[in-house]
Every structure is written in structure tokens, then in C-alpha cells.
């Protein structure tokens, strides 16, 4: 079919959720992504021009419509469905150099985490200490001793005021990040080691008071930091609880080695639902709104809030915007090499089953805008899936050993993976290729994190050094 610049194509613009934007229109052949952006902005009546990416049949549209039609030999008579996806207004630059290797821990670094505003950094290690690091000078700030055994997981409260760390002996300790001092005595109650910690979102309660911890002994406990007691104990799993997430609508999701995921409500600690389907341990859970819950009221503008109410409102606004009309989506990755996409608020049955990995799935993570889902597996690959439908999009191969953890950049354009082969790799989502290889660690990389402001990446592993990577 010959196409001239006078030809036109019948197009239908569709939102990512599937709603049609307007009636199908005839667009001339020399219309490309910039023009489509203008059209969408106008039709949505956006005040400021937001960037969009356009997808036809899961492939991104980068050419003009005419060139695209010719390349694909598409039928002109069929209406072309163009899905538009809003992109982050800001753009994160990929990190490509190691700006500092900070030694300090005397045993392997097991967990690293940036604070929600991206200003502070904390790490937990096998030498039983939690350390705070100064990002401006890239030196240690505080060394917090208090745990009796390895510090397995750390979690910042979404308002950035507290850090809780869980250890192998089953204790949780609260730290004050400004002084590095322990707040009160250790919280005991769990009989075996702590596997995961998650705070209550700040839009549900500000200042942050409660968090939930999961342990190998099979129960999850909700703690209140002001009374310093275990408020509710969520017992029900018959085997270790491997991960726990506090959802934005006030439900707690726990995944366990007994192959089930349980949904609990938080006022009484009652079990709401049990999601069955996996054939082996559930290793990791991810929520579509997870990034927003983690960062709370802070976003890329770097605004600080003085009062707790302001924070709550700002966090609520961000959460509502992120969620839209759709219910929260939950993804679980398991030892049975598959992942399930659930919509727990709607039904007990999974929405989609994502197969394709050849070994167990260790970590699943939604992108900050909820459009993509990435999964890291011991089969040395990272796979990218559509965050809404669960459809497979691309596989990232490059690692030569198990991929342990992944982390997204704040604009959802870059994905970082840390692996047993001691390298980190940055993958570009748009081109679906490797963007940057970050070697340098002397041994396995156990934990990675990308700061919410997108400037820095931190990684820690078996070689006991903490590496900061920047642009």
C-alpha cells in the first residue's frame, strides 16, 4: 500500500486501563509521538503538558504513523488502537560510576535502605550493627549496636522519623535516625528470625505509629511504637512467613512458605481472605502502590513538610492519584517458578498467572507508576511484565548467576538488578536493553536500593563494603 503524506489512518486512543479516550479519528500519516502527545494533552484537558509514551500492540511507537504502517504492512481499514501511558515528568539519569566504597561493616551487608525523602541511608549487617551513613560526605554517621544476632531487615517509617530493624534472634529495635540512638528496649515476641518489616502508610495514620513484622515462626505481629507493645498477632500460617506488605487500603498481605497468601484487616487482626494457588513457597510480594506507600508524602520535588497533617494530606493525594479508580494489585513470586497477579479486593481467584522463569522467582517489584512489573529469578534473568494485565513483555539477560534483588528508578524508566555474580546492571525499559553494567563488588551483592530522588544507588553485599553509585 502506497502511503503519501496526504494519507490518513483511523486511530483510537485508549488509556492504559482500557477506556477509550474519544471516538476514533483520522490522523494524517505525518503524525508522530510529539503530535500525539499534544493531542492527548488537549483531549485530557491537562493544564501542563505531560509526557506520554504510545504503544501499539505492546510495542512502543517511535516513528511517524505513516512509516509505522508501512513497516508493519498494517491494514488501513482496521482501527489502530494506540495506548497512551503517562510518563514521569522528571527524568532520572542512569548511574554509571561508583562514587564511593564505604567500608565499615565487619560482616556481610544484608539490607540497605534510603529514607523516604532520600536524604539518609541506613544499612543492616551480619555483624549485628545498624549503620547510618551521611550521603553528602559519603562517610559513616552512626553505628548502632544493640542487636544480638545478624540484622536481617530494616525499614524506614514513611514519615522518615524512625527506623526499625529486625534480627535473627527475633527482636526488633527502633532507632532515631537523627541521633543514632535506640528508642526504648528491643521489642521481643517473635520466637524465630524476622523475615520482613512493613510500616503503616502515612496517609492512614500520621505520624507513623504502627508497623507489621513477619517471622520464620509463622506469625506476623503488628507493633505500636508509642506503647512499644505488640498490638495484634496475626497467626494462621503454618510455616514461615516470608514477606509482609501493608497495603494502602488498610489491609495487610502476608506471603508464606505454606504456599498461601493471607489478607488481614488491621483493626482486629482478623483474616479476610486466603489466596491459594501457588505450588511452593511464596518468596516475595509486591503491591502496585508500593512505591508511593514507601515514599509517603515526599516526591521528586523534594518538598519537606512541617506538620503531620500536611504530610497525611499530601500522601493521601499522591496515593489517590496513583491508584486512580482501579483496585490495588498484588503480585506474588514463588519457588514454583511462576507469579500470580491478584486483585485481592475483588476476588480470591488470581487475575493472571505469569510463567516463564526457569528457576525460582526471588523478588518481584512494581514500577513506581504501576505500569510495569519486574521479577528477578535464580535463572539469571530479569523479566519485565505489564503491570496491569500481567502479560510478558521482555526478558533481560546478562547476569551470569542468580539475580537477588531489583530496584526501580523513581521515573520508572530504569531498572536496577543486583546479583550473585557481584555485578549490578541497569536496564532501560524503553529500549528493553542493558543500559549500564556496574561491576566492582568483590563478592555477591545482597541488597540494592535506588534513592527516591534518583540521584544515587546504594548496594551492599558479602564483601562487607557499601558502594554508592552516581551519575
Amino acid at each position: 500500500m502506497e502511503n503519501g503524506s496526504h494519507g490518513s489512518v483511523l486511530c483510537q486512543l485508549v488509556s492504559p486501563e482500557g477506556e477509550h479516550l474519544e471516538a476514533p479519528v483520522y490522523l494524517p500519516h505525518n503524525v508522530g509521538p510529539p503530535q500525539l502527545q499534544d493531542i492527548v494533552n488537549k483531549l485530557l484537558h491537562n493544564e501542563e503538558k505531560l509526557p506520554y509514551a504510545f504503544y501499539i500492540g505492546d510495542e512502543e511507537l517511535s516513528l511517524q504513523l505513516g512509516a509505522y504502517m508501512q513497516q508493519k504492512n498494517a491494514n488501513v481499514e482496521v482501527t489502530l488502537r494506540i495506548v497512551y501511558q503517562p510518563q514521569a515528568v522528571f527524568r532520572i539519569r542512569p548511574v554509571n560510576r561508583c562514587s564511593a566504597t564505604i567500608a565499615g561493616h565487619t560482616e556481610a551487608v544484608l539490607a540497605v535502605s534510603f529514607s523516604p525523602d532520600g536524604r539518609c541511608l541506613a544499612s543492616g549487617s551480619g555483624d549485628t550493627t545498624v549503620r547510618f551513613w551521611d550521603l553528602n560526605t559519603q562517610t559513616p554517621l552512626f553505628t548502632c549496636k544493640g542487636h544480638k544476632n545478624w540484622v536481617l531487615c530494616i525499614a524506614w517509617s514513611p514519615d522518615g522519623k524512625h527506623l526499625v530493624s529486625g534480627s535473627k534472634s527475633g527482636e526488633l529495635i527502633l532507632w532515631d535516625p537523627k541521633t543514632g540512638k535506640q528508642l526504648g528496649t528491643p521489642l521481643t515476641g517473635h520466637r524465630k528470625w524476622i523475615t520482613a518489616v512493613s510500616w503503616e502508610p502515612v496517609h492512614l495514620q500520621s505520624p507513623s505509629r504502627r508497623f507489621v513484622s513477619a517471622s520464620k515462626d509463622g506469625d506476623a505481629r503488628i507493633w505500636d511504637i508509642t506503647t512499644r507493645k505488640c498490638v495484634i498477632s496475626l497467626a494462621g500460617h503454618t510455616n514461615a512467613v516470608t514477606c509482609v506488605k501493608w497495603g494502602g487500603d488498610g489491609l495487610i498481605y502476608t506471603g508464606s512458605e505454606d504456599c498461601s497468601i493471607k489478607v488481614w484487616e488491621t483493626s482486629q487482626g482478623k483474616l479476610v481472605k486466603t489466596l491459594q494457588g501457588h505450588g511452593h513457597w511464596v518468596n516475595s510480594l509486591a503491591l502496585s502502590t508500593e512505591y508511593v506507600l514507601r515514599t509517603g508524602a515526599y516526591d521528586h520535588t523534594g518538598k519537606t513538610y512541617s506538620s503531620a497533617e500536611e504530610m497525611k494530606e499530601a500522601a493521601l493525594a499522591r496515593y489517590e492519584k496513583m491508584r486512580g479508580n482501579a483496585p490495588e494489585r498484588l503480585v506474588s513470586g514463588s519457588d514454583d517458578f511462576t507469579m500470580f497477579l491478584w486483585e485481592p479486593a475483588i476476588s480470591k481467584q488470581p487475575k493472571a498467572r505469569m510463567t516463564g522463569h526457569q528457576k525460582l522467582v526471588n523478588h518481584v517489584y512494581f514500577s513506581p507508576d504501576g505500569q510495569w512489573l519486574a521479577s528477578a529469578s535464580f535463572d539469571k534473568s530479569v523479566k519485565l511484565w505489564n503491570g496491569i494485565t500481567g502479560k510478558f513483555i521482555a526478558a533481560f539477560r546478562g547476569h551470569v548467576a542468580d539475580v537477588y534483588q531489583i530496584s526501580w528508578s523513581a521515573d520508572s524508566r530504569l531498572l536496577l538488578s543486583g546479583s550473585k555474580d557481584s555485578t549490578l546492571k541497569v536496564w532501560d525499559i524503553r529500549t528493553r536493553k542493558l543500559k549500564q553494567d556496574l561491576p566492582g563488588h568483590a563478592d555477591e551483592v545482597y541488597a540494592v536500593d535506588w534513592s527516591p530522588d534518583g540521584e544515587k544507588v546504594v548496594s551492599g553485599g558479602k564483601d562487607r563494603a557499601l558502594k554508592l553509585w552516581m551519575n
Binding site: 555483624d127 544480638k148 545478624w150 518468596n283 557481584s422 555485578t423
Partner: protein, 260 residues
Amino acid sequence: MPQGDYIELHQKRHGRRMDFEERKRKKEARSVKKNSKDARKLLGAKGKRFAKKRYAEKAQMKKTLKMHDESTSRQKVDDDVEEGALPPYLLDRDQTQRAKVLSNTIKQKRKEKAGKWDVPLPKVRGVAEDEMFKVLRTGKRKTKQWKRMVTKATFVGPGFTRKPPKYERFIRPTGLRFTKAHVTHPELKCTFNLDIISVKKNPNGQMYTSLGVMTRGTIIEVNVSELGLVTPAGKVVWGKYAQVTNNPENDGCINAVLLV
């Protein structure tokens, strides 16, 4: 009959004294005083013997008391902090230890240039030519003796084609050709079945190296991509040297140890 048995015999026949039990009881009651007197007064060798015996009794008594004490109260056993910290997602899995990051490639290159290698088998018994080759008599009258057949294990590359039979001097039989070696990592003590890439050096001579003969002590290059090793610069290592440790022509397989 032995001396002491007469006493026992009498006791059996006539029984004990009537006040035996009472005397015994009273003597035991007095023994405390006697013991303390002895402890104070005994001197010399006797004193030493007594003191030793008394101490042993005291230690034993202390132990039994402690044992009785323990059962009443339960104590929390403090786990010692172990080595080899693992993140929570690896705690329930027993990972087989994999080969770690290697020595610097620059160091390796320098070693190669210098020709100095620290190998597990520095000296190998030399193999004589008549042991290595078998003479093949050819020709109409079987008088020509210029052909040789190799009697040891060999490696020929994947693109190997024989020379025309009329001109080939050295015959490497297919039955003695090997492509894989059982390579052991010296630190991890685990063995992998890896492909051979080439024969680097045979200590018996440069001719054998060029023929690809593998005897005990030969350095071969193996494909280690399945081990997932990465250099500090981030490059993936796919070839490493290993030294043959057995006599492959006797065993039918090649065992080698990886040179790290």
C-alpha cells in the same frame, strides 16, 4: 583359700555381731569428726593422699548439686553470632558454595608472560617416546616404519580434519580422543564436567603439546562459563587453566584440578 575369704566365710556361717548395725550407724555419725580431725592433723605423704581424696569428693559433690540446681530454673541459651551472614531470602536455602571472584586478570597475564606457574604437580615422571607412540608398519611388505600411533589420550579441536592418510605421520585414534574433563575446584572441593578448549602445555615436550596429547601433568584450558565467574572489572570469565592429575589412558577419563 585367700586370707580375706575366711572372714567372709565366718560371716556366712555365724552371721554378724548383734549390735553390728548400731555400731555401724554410730561409727558413720562419728566419721564426720574423724574426717575433719584427719584433715587438720595428717601430715606428710598420708596428708597429701588424704587431701587429694577429699578434694575429689568435694568436686563430685559440687557437680551433683549443680545438676540438681539446673533442673529448677530454665535459662535462655544465647546463640552465638555465626559467621557467614545471609539475607533473609537465602536463610532457608542451603546454597552450594559457588566459586568466588578470581584473581586479577592482569596478574594472570603477567604470570603467563613470565612462564612461571604455581601448579599442583610441579614434577611429573617423563614419558619416553616408545611408550608414547606405537610404531605402525606400512607398505606392501610392511617394511616402512615411519608412521606412529599415539597411545595416550589426545585432544583435537572441533574443526579437526585428518591429513590425507598417505601423508599423516602421527595417528590419533578416535577412541583416545577426549573433549570433556572432570575439573575439581581446589577450594570448593567440587567437581564439574567441563569442555576442553585446548591443550596448553605438555611437560614432556613441545611436540606433544602440538599434537594435543594429554598425560599426567599437562596444562589444559577448560571452559568455565557454567561456573559464573566474574572478574573485578565485570567481565565474565569463560576459560581457565587446569592441570591433569590422572593417567587418562588408564582410566578412560580426564581428571584435572583447576588452577586458581
